[in-house]
Symmetry: D2
Subunit: 409 residues, 4 copies
């Protein structure tokens, strides 16, 4: 069976991207080398539903190197890098992915993965898990899930009826959420915004909606580029934290008139909506860093101006109440659409959690209850250690006297 790949993408180009990413994902290399000889995934059938990017290719090739038999489909119809898909296909990964799938095609690819009878499935957003549970797919021994959104959906599923197999929620690992969500999104959102718009950040009034991990990262990096940052929140504890981090905290409606750039980081719907658009200044720029494209009420914008000018590749200029409002990436996640998503160094933390969780499930799936699990603490710690080592950093160790002191106090 041939895998379906885009003709446009060149496998040679894909290989270079793979090599570049691999060079910046030292943790995965360390892990692979450590367990390589045992071929711990020999014969294992793994199904992946992930954004098909250069970083993902490093994970898939690592799993392959450890002996696995792999099939993959995209987590989103629009995010596949075709040259990477070509490269993976050429290397023997069965892959159903190309950029710009229709919804129907996207569904078909998910089904192809199920038809492969995977034993362990790795997902980003729980689309594959939901499908597998709905059709009671019997081949699956265990699964992993990358995102907060996916974990939330699985939790809801678990609430209704027991899951078909144990799932490890990678997102809860310290080495995931402390880094990926905060520092990773922080940089890639600013990067995506600069690629999309090319505007100057120093002196700009940037409104960051939401001060969870993503908002914290975005506010910190925007401020690091010289922007004047105001935070909006609905949670008092986070509002207090933002304030003591040195950011003004205000209601969106109270600050909307003076904002130059708005970045939504909330996980909520219609955070920026009619009442806000109407008070915005001429030239305001809107971008979204959240998973779904619901945070900015894009529908409203199109209702007011159904034919916006595409003023730059990823920027649409809407006429709203005689002012121009600029929308980046149609309100979809700016770091993936205008940028390259998270940097490989960050993805290597997340994917190390994936790889070690897959290895863990492969060995211990029979002993695990059929529900959501956290990444085992020893895996989390090991990844931090590998990461520090791959950065050539040496840290202190407790002396014997100090170990004793810990128990004494």
């Amino acid at each position: 069976m041939n895998s379906v790949i885009s003709e446009a993408g060149s496998p040679a180009r894909g290989e270079l991207s793979f090599l570049w990413a691999k060079d910046h994902m030292g943790i995965l290399k360390k892990i692979t080398e450590k367990v390589l000889n045992g071929q711990p995934l020999a014969g294992r059938r793994l199904g992946f539903c992930l954004h098909i990017t250069k970083e993902t290719s490093v994970l898939l090739m690592a799993a392959k190197e450890l002996g696995a038999d792999i099939v993959a489909c995209p987590a989103n119809p629009l995010t596949t890098q075709d040259d990477i898909a070509s490269f993976l296909s050429e290397k023997g990964v069965t892959i159903y992915a190309w950029r710009g799938q229709t919804d129907k095609e996207f569904r078909e690819c998910l089904n192809k993965v199920i038809q492969f009878k995977p034993e362990i499935v790795t997902d980003d957003g729980a689309e594959l898990h939901v499908l597998a549970n709905n059709i009671r797919c019997q081949s699956i021994l265990g699964g992993t899930e990358e995102t907060t959104t996916g974990v939330t959906r699985l939790r809801s599923l678990q609430g209704k009826k027991s899951l078909l197999y144990p799932v490890i929620g990678v997102n809860d690992a310290s080495t995931k959420y402390l880094f990926d969500n905060r520092y990773g999104t922080g940089q890639s959102t600013i990067d995506g915004l600069m690629r999309a718009t090319g505007v100057f950040l120093a002196g700009k009034h940037v409104i960051v909606c939401g001060y969870g991990w993503v908002g914290k990262g975005v506010a910190s990096r925007a401020s690091g580029m010289g922007a004047i940052v105001t935070v909006t929140e609905i949670d008092h504890i986070r509002a207090l934290e933002a304030s003591m981090d040195g950011f003004a905290v205000k209601r969106l409606l109270d600050v909307v008139e003076s904002g130059d750039i708005f970045i939504t980081c909330t996980g909520q719907t219609k955070v920026i909506r009619k009442e806000h658009f109407q008070k915005m200044k001429q030239g305001a720029i809107l971008a979204n860093a959240g998973h779904f494209d619901v945070e900015i009420d894009v529908e409203y914008l199109y209702k007011q101006d159904s034919n916006p000018v595409c003023i730059r590749a990823n920027v649409n200029s809407f006429k709203i109440a005689s002012k121009k409002i600029f929308l980046v990436d149609r309100g979809r996640v700016v770091n993936l659409v205008s940028g390259e998503g998270h940097a490989p160094e960050v993805m290597s933390l997340s994917f190390a959690n994936q790889l070690l969780s897959i290895l863990f499930l492969s060995k211990f799936h029979a002993k695990l209850k059929k529900r959501l699990h956290r990444v085992p603490r020893h895996i989390d710690r090991a990844i931090a250690r590998y990461s520090i080592e791959s950065m050539n950093i040496r840290i202190d160790k407790l002396t014997n006297e100090q170990k004793a002191y810990r128990h004494f106090i």
Copy 2:
């Protein structure tokens, strides 16, 4: 029975300090006003073992205003502000506290609090809780504890035999540890260091040992004053976090030669010891931000130079291997000894947790198991809300559509 107070401290001076602190502890005022009419602590006998500072006087006077009958002793023989003790005594608080107690006097004061037959006891370091549990004090219905160290001791006590009464560990509240430990200690440590030494921080190489909440705060504020900060750690996750926050991470021994100022924030013993002292440069300055004075091996310093020069009020100059090494506050906690401890705004968050926990215990003690409890989540949230309100900040609220969206996803 007269309370024993220092003659040196003037109650009038103490009252001014109380008023100054009260003006900066708006949350306590808000809480008091809200429940004042009910006099919810009427007749309640409260025992406090806290550092007797201006901030503590605001907590005690608030409890008094709500009807409580109060006795207090210090949490440390050296930290009492005598004018505050005088003022509290004059206002009808039974207080056994003066600066510079002997260890015997300190113990006697603890006993006096027990003899008062308190119903609810509030402690900072668990000295009073340990005593009460050991002598099986029967009057106590519940207790609260301020510090990590105290909670650790109570957990150990709980491990051996059940506690005599339920205790709420205030330290675990978000509105405590996220702010007090990080931002509070961050500022007060830098403040204490500047008062003690008067040295310039910009361009100085500052070594921060430990990157827990305290280390995070200290590193951030030292960097904010222009210092070049290097972090040392024993934990890989924290090391990674420090690194991505932009701080060099090294083994102490690898960086000790170039350090100008060392600040310990670990909770561990002998973090800076012989092997480090020997490699330090001429003029290195050592200060401790941790609870106990064990983080710098002060004993070793005195063994090498039993008669150091007191070169400034709180700085001793040791001759170690023909170099001068400067020790601040004899290795005791620099923000309390050279500074004024946490700023009142920070203490108002912690003490709001104390006051609401006392009110909670007063009402629900019978329903609580005799073990350690977390601060109820609704109290934590209420404090954040009061705090935001007292700063005149308004934040957003979820729309109905957004509330529905939360459940939907």
Copy 3:
């Protein structure tokens, strides 16, 4: 006479870019509106030798709107944006510019501008000024120069023989060098680096060579993205400044082994050379922010590995002593090659100086000595005022009492 333009560039696309830039260059709009009615440049023949970018098109169209007759050529054979050139041509600007000119073509275009008999010439790098002075071009009444490098060359020319006409060195205006060189290059260099490499900056050890305005900007923004920055310098005053800004300062050779990313900002030749390459770690990334491609000894790299792998569009991977070293943009200026150069907001400060200097020369050229001049102070101040106004910022004014106080003290 038809102007020669690239067929590839679409004028419609160019117009959108022009409009986007214009929207972010409010100062130029303010200036144009203020003097528009007088048509102060009516009939003036202006020659421009500038990078043909969207920002330049805003300057040229403003000059055109004020009545000028315009000819333009590029300041660099590789930096022309073809769609902008098409757009300008369509709008009636005589333009000799396309991307990827040969050196011969580049020279011919310079000559075309001279043949146009310009009265005022605006240059970026002094290529046109040097030519005009060498061939004793008689039509020119005055000129302006954008860069430090250009001003240096003109000074050298002035040293040998008197200039043919007065030249205003725009680079010396406060509203130019305080902003363009520092904040402008700061952002665009980081932006270019991220576009070229996609690597993570947080936790990376970034070596900034040189701490002039450019180095200051780059160090500040790299640090703002979470990098650990070390500065190298040859000047003690700047070294001291870097140190007190919180950056470690070292000799390049002493820090080269631990550097992850190197950015040259010196204006000097062979700052990074053989002795440094040999000690670099595997995977080091090299980029240049200086005007010329001489700061990194690229020649040496090609001697060691004449056939580097083009691992990403703008990154070459060299094998040096069995390690991979990554060179960005072949050592050419990273913000222009991988990025879009300065953001329009920054260019609007520089180009406002150009436009007002052109207007000034047009009126007063006869009264000016034939040598280098600074931008008149009143122009510099006016631009700052327009800029503040275009950001909708209101600032304080001296009271009469304060004006008197100034003279009194």
Copy 4:
């Protein structure tokens, strides 16, 4: 003749302070050692009018070590540290200084210095220079001046009639104003504010009035402590700079209602006045970092409430329109009154300029015109070099090829 010193100050205590300061003023030690053998000041009569602090004692003792005969008086009636005066007197410096002089006593001490017939005079504020010029003191061969204010007064004097002797304005040296005024005042102002008030800075809205070197330093350090900083300015260029440094810029009247802490850094009179006081929030704190106590209209405050409560040692609480407004140090310079002034490391830069300028004047006074001079550039550079060396920092040197390149371009 005995010098007049305070009995209260202990010379032993003073010596310890001197030693502490000397340990942190490595540049002066380096300079002294370098020229010591020549005894270049042997027999020179030097008159000093400086704040008598521990740092000043290091300068005076260095001059003495080089052979000078010294007399000193204070630059301000209130700033003398008595123990330092005692120590200097004991070491053979003729000194007329004690804390809390009357204006008459202060004048008499100035006269004492003149009567000593000094050959070179060093001043801070030009009080001594103005006196010497007015009475046409004939002994003086040259002078130096520390402050901007002093240089302004000398310039005005020079405008009216020629000066009696050449004066070197130390304030204009790069190694003075780039560091002392910005980083020095930045730290010491925040330090003084924390000592005076003990309030929390994180999350506080701090209004910095003026964005010259002092304002830049204060804004940067306040922000570094977690404050939310807004800048007010009257100059558009500085306003633009503040904005691009990431600070909101507003008119004072537009932001006064939301300010928690106000710090004046302008050199102007009545920057905060009636119209502002009336709109301030309850509990606003006012402090001044400028040389004179005119920046806050203290007179107005006393008119409204002639009897403010001294709520902390250096804080007065005024009742203004039924709100409490807190004034720090009665509006006098907060870093000197509540803090210890500049840190010794910073003063060592300024005083190295003083010492080398004195040496320069001693040798070359006859060749210098009787007017204001800048610190010779080679002195400025030498100090930066000594400073870098005393911090054990090594920096790069130009290669021969690079030296040639400089001339070539």
